[in-house]
């Protein structure tokens, strides 16, 4: 067949028309007959024992359905990796906003007052709020030692390098919590029926995570739990695990009341109670030769997991594996640790630990450059991983990536060298200072190590009675374009027009478990399975002699219709099989950590205004190698959106904590970038291809979150000649940094130059 390729083309988004006309159905748009509304009574203290619960006599409680931990038919936990997080606190609360009790009423507007009318008396227990307090073990709040998980990655012999080193460079870098801030708040509807079991519809990323959690919580067999995804208004990892909690709450209220129950969080509840990006602290100690080669080093990576284990172990794993950046380490020792504090559990957010450890690595590269008198460009060039070399986990770089060349292209696109010279001169005077910064990085796509093997994802493709085909996956669309790209892949595999392929709405009664929609795995891993399941449809038709090897669209449709008419349902399945050459040792944390890495160089230009101490990004170049780009418009949308979130992470978004509770849980005081805060973000792709992904694709969803923070903070440090090692970097921190250097006062006379350092 001679036809134009569909992959690589920016076809219209499958659900786009419904989105631009307002017809898309999000969970709060769905109404069921006799539906009542649920609300959650939460802990007001960080840690303590529940003594007494009182219901104010001013409310007629007979109108309400009330659920406590005692109403849970199964196990009181949110089943995920470990089972330590309760669905409803019973005797002990371990963080502010921990769910204790549920209320439901036919009128949603009376619920806030009812929640306020429930008084909970506690016996307070000592609480801890920082990683340092947790490490001191003065108070043990989780397990035997406050530690959720540790990893040790060792390569070569670090012990011997310090004596050979011409320079030993040390640094400590921290990143703050970040709220996902999807514009659609979390929400869920549940219906219970003794014969059918429980059905939930919601805003969510991972239908089968919820399925598993509800089976354990409600003590129901698999066939009596059904999870359906509604159109989902943004997620970014924030709807990976917490929707299991809300689904559990809605299910418990539905079981007790016998009515459909809708729970929709308002913005503040969503911000203060649900997960955020893990705060982190990374310490680097690096041995470097006088010609700027890294000889080896130690990296200590610690994240604050909050009060329960949830996903911290896996976030930690990805952060630890990415901690060495895109550089060659002859020897390295990476110690990683997730610790407990009395804050709501931190969780998945785009990048999943990598933005934290890569911020540290890329700030540290600039520090090394300054220490030994090389440029930021040159230090990176001399240490980039080359094909044939191995990463920190001994994963061999097999593809012909040339990071030096990638960086050169990025520098040229950003006009980096000319800017460097110009800013050095312009910064001598005036009250605005400009700087440029680089970040080079990599991001592994798919689950880490043996993860994909354990997931063992299954994908289906169905030949329909009308001759069209339908993709059956639990992979969810929440803005990335899942339905569009998976349709392109199936259409390409079968030689059909894009319009003849559709994707079933994720519904656990309808679709197999293709794994969670996380870890930049959908296009690369699930896409590849979609391709092989689609080819299975073709093979069946050909082997039954309903279709020739070469066929027209009409012939395919006729053959498909004939098959369905004769045989009934026509489905082809494909299950993930790990490539034979992939080796991973879970014990030693060594081997092929990821099926593919995407590579990138990002360059930021910033202006710091010394009258307001605010920094703004003026230009941003995002250059990446992501394998084959299957849909240029969607891919660019992913990169630009990720960079925007990265700019927020760097300069705007600060979670203010007090006793483990977020104090600024509103869009008025937690500031994400608006249209006027962002520069045009310039996106460029290199396409090397990837043998393990569908049509050569790698994952891209998380990648753009990794680079902006270090590129921007490197640029701010360049502009002011001050090292900033913590994000978010708000005007008050810039002022602090300048005061520390005594620069603020002397500024008017002297000015500050570009390119200096504080070491």
């Amino acid at each position: 067949m001679n036809r134009e390729s569909i992959v690589g083309k920016s076809v219209p988004r499958k659900e786009g028309r419904d989105k631009v006309t307002g017809r898309s159905q999000y969970v709060d748009d769905m109404v069921l007959p006799n539906m009542i509304f649920g609300a959650t009574v939460r802990s007001r203290i960080p840690r303590g024992r529940i003594r007494k619960i009182t219901f104010s006599p001013e409310i007629n409680w007979d109108e309400f359905v009330i659920v406590t931990a005692k109403d849970i038919p199964g196990k009181n936990c949110i089943a995920l990796i470990g089972d330590d997080q309760p669905c409803l606190a019973n005797e002990i609360v371990n963080h502010p906003e921990e769910p204790i009790l549920l209320l439901a009423h036919p009128d949603r507007h009376v619920l806030p007052a009812a929640v306020e009318a429930v008084t909970i008396e506690y016996e307070s227990l000592p609480a801890i709020f920082t990683m340092e307090e947790s490490e001191s073990r003065a108070e043990i709040i989780w397990g035997a030692d406050n530690i959720f998980k540790t990893y040790l990655i060792e390569k070569g012999d670090v012990g011997g390098i310090w004596e050979q080193a011409d320079y030993i460079v040390e640094g400590e870098y921290t990143t703050g919590a970040q709220e996902q801030l999807y514009i659609e708040n979390n929400g869920m509807i549940a219906v219970f029926d003794a014969a059918q079991g429980i059905t939930v519809w919601g805003s969510l990323q991972c239908p089968y995570y919820i399925h598993k959690a509800l089976m354990a919580l409600c003590d129901l067999p698999a066939e009596k739990v059904r999870v359906v995804q509604m159109e989902t208004g943004g997620a970014f990892g924030g709807k990976e695990e917490y929707p299991s909690m809300i689904a559990g709450h809605a299910a418990l209220l539905a079981m007790k009341s016998g009515k459909p129950v809708k729970i929709i969080y308002d913005r503040m509840e969503d911000m203060v109670a649900t997960t955020k990006r893990h705060p982190s602290r990374t310490r680097h100690r690096t041995a470097v030769s006088k010609d700027g080669k890294i000889l080896g080093g130690e990296i200590d990576f610690t994240i604050d997991g909050g009060a329960y284990a949830t996903l911290s172990s896996v976030v930690l794993s990805r952060g630890a594996i990415h901690a060495g950046g895109p550089y060659y380490w002859p020897s390295v020792r990476i110690r990683a640790k997730a610790v407990a504090t009395n804050a709501p559990p931190h969780g998945a957010f785009r990048g999943f630990g990598a933005p934290q450890s890569l911020f540290a690595m890329e700030r540290h590269m600039d520090r090394i450059a300054q220490a030994i008198g090389l440029s930021a460009v040159e230090i990176r060039r001399r240490n980039f991983l080359q094909p044939g070399q191995a990463t920190t986990t001994e994963q061999m770089v097999r593809e012909p990536i040339d990071l030096g060349k990638l960086m050169d292209r990025g520098l040229e696109l950003a006009d980096y060298h000319a800017k460097k010279i110009r800013f050095a001169s312009e910064n001598q005077s005036g009250t605005t200072k400009k700087g440029v910064g680089i970040a080079a990085f990599l991001h592994g796509a798919g689950f880490t190590g043996s993860g994909e093997r354990y997931l063992s994802s299954v994908v289906g493709v169905e030949g329909c009675a009308d001759g069209s085909v339908r993709v059956l996956v639990s992979s969810t669309e929440f803005g990335q374009g899942t339905k569009t790209v998976l349709s392109q892949i199936a259409a390409e595999a079968l030689g059909l027009p894009y319009e003849y392929v559709s994707v079933a709405q994720p519904d656990t009664f309808e679709v197999p478990n293709s794994g969670p929609t996380v870890a930049s795995r959908t296009v690369m891993v699930v896409g590849k399975l979609v391709k092989s399941a689609a080819l299975g449809i073709k093979q069946t038709l050909v082997s039954r002699k309903l279709l020739g090897e070469v066929y027209s669209v009409e012939e395919f449709r006729r053959a498909c219709r004939e098959y369905v008419a004769a045989q009934g349902q026509f489905r082809s399945w494909s299950r993930y099989e790990a490539p034979a050459d992939v080796f991973w040792d879970d014990e030693k944390y060594r081997g092929e950590a990821y099926a593919a890495f995407a590579w990138a160089v990002y360059i930021a230009e910033v202006t710091v205004d010394l009258t307001t101490y605010s920094a703004a990004v003026d230009d941003f170049v995002a250059l990446q190698e992501v394998g084959k780009v299957l849909h240029p418009l969607l891919a660019a949308g992913q990169i630009i959106g990720g960079v925007a979130q990265g700019i927020g992470f760097s300069l705007y978004e600060k979670v203010v904590w007090q006793n483990g509770r977020m104090q600024n849980g509103q869009m008025t005081n937690y500031i994400m970038p608006g249209a006027t805060d962002l520069p045009p973000i310039r996106v460029f792709f290199e396409e090397l291809g990837n043998v393990r992904g569908a049509y050569g694709a790698k994952g891209i969803g998380e990648l753009p979150m990794d680079g902006p923070a270090p590129a921007i903070i490197n640029a701010v440090s360049d502009a002011l000649g001050i090292c900033f090692d913590s994000i978010p970097l708000l005007p008050e921190e810039i002022l602090d940094g300048m005061n520390r250097k005594g620069l603020a006062a002397s500024l008017q006379e002297n000015g500050v130059g570009s390119g200096g350092g504080d070491r």
Binding site: K19, V20, D107, G674
Partner: protein, 165 residues
């Protein structure tokens, strides 16, 4: 907290929505957003923050762009309201809807209805805005997916097409 059991406190309020006359019974201080979504089943306007920060509940009221979560329904009496549902005619999309679709202006879609109405409001007052004016015009509407570039491009493209017509 208002007392909902007192139905006599409800008033009859009339306004026009997408060219159709509507009469609703509502408490005067009920939010226009809730009336649109719950009584009139126009669920295109979304609640993102409930305090006028995100703009996802934006509608046009007598030509002005308002956050319907901040408008007491009483204030809508006699007004002319346009929601996202009023833009397309049948299967034919509005130029802005088409342009958002083609330029990647909608990702998760939750801010899209409000964003398109903000863009319409902008173009009604300024048919040929500069890129900066587009960003200014959309500054009251937050989007977490796109980083705004494709939205800005979609609005610019729609403006070009509209003036070319």
């Amino acid at each position: 907290m208002m007392d909902r059991s007192e139905s006599r406190a409800k008033s009859e309020i009339s306004f026009s929505v997408n060219g159709q006359h509507k009469k609703v019974r509502a408490y005067p201080m009920e939010r226009l957003l809730d009336i649109l979504r719950e009584q009139l089943k126009l669920t295109g306007a979304k609640e993102g923050c409930g305090e006028g920060e995100c703009g996802s509940c934006s509608v046009l009221m007598d030509g002005a762009l308002v956050n319907s979560c901040l408008v007491p329904v009483l204030q809508a009496e006699g007004s002319d309201i346009v929601t996202i549902e009023g833009l397309a005619s049948g299967d034919t999309l509005h130029i802005l809807q088409e342009s958002f679709l083609e330029n990647g202006g909608a990702q998760c879609g939750i801010c899209t209805p409000g964003m398109i109405l903000a863009a319409l409001h902008l173009l009604n007052g300024k048919p040929g805005p500069t890129m900066e004016e587009i960003r200014e015009g959309l500054a009251g509407n937050l989007c977490r997916c796109t980083g705004y570039s494709h939205i800005v491009r979609a609005v610019a493209e729609a403006a070009r097409r509209r003036t070319a017509v």
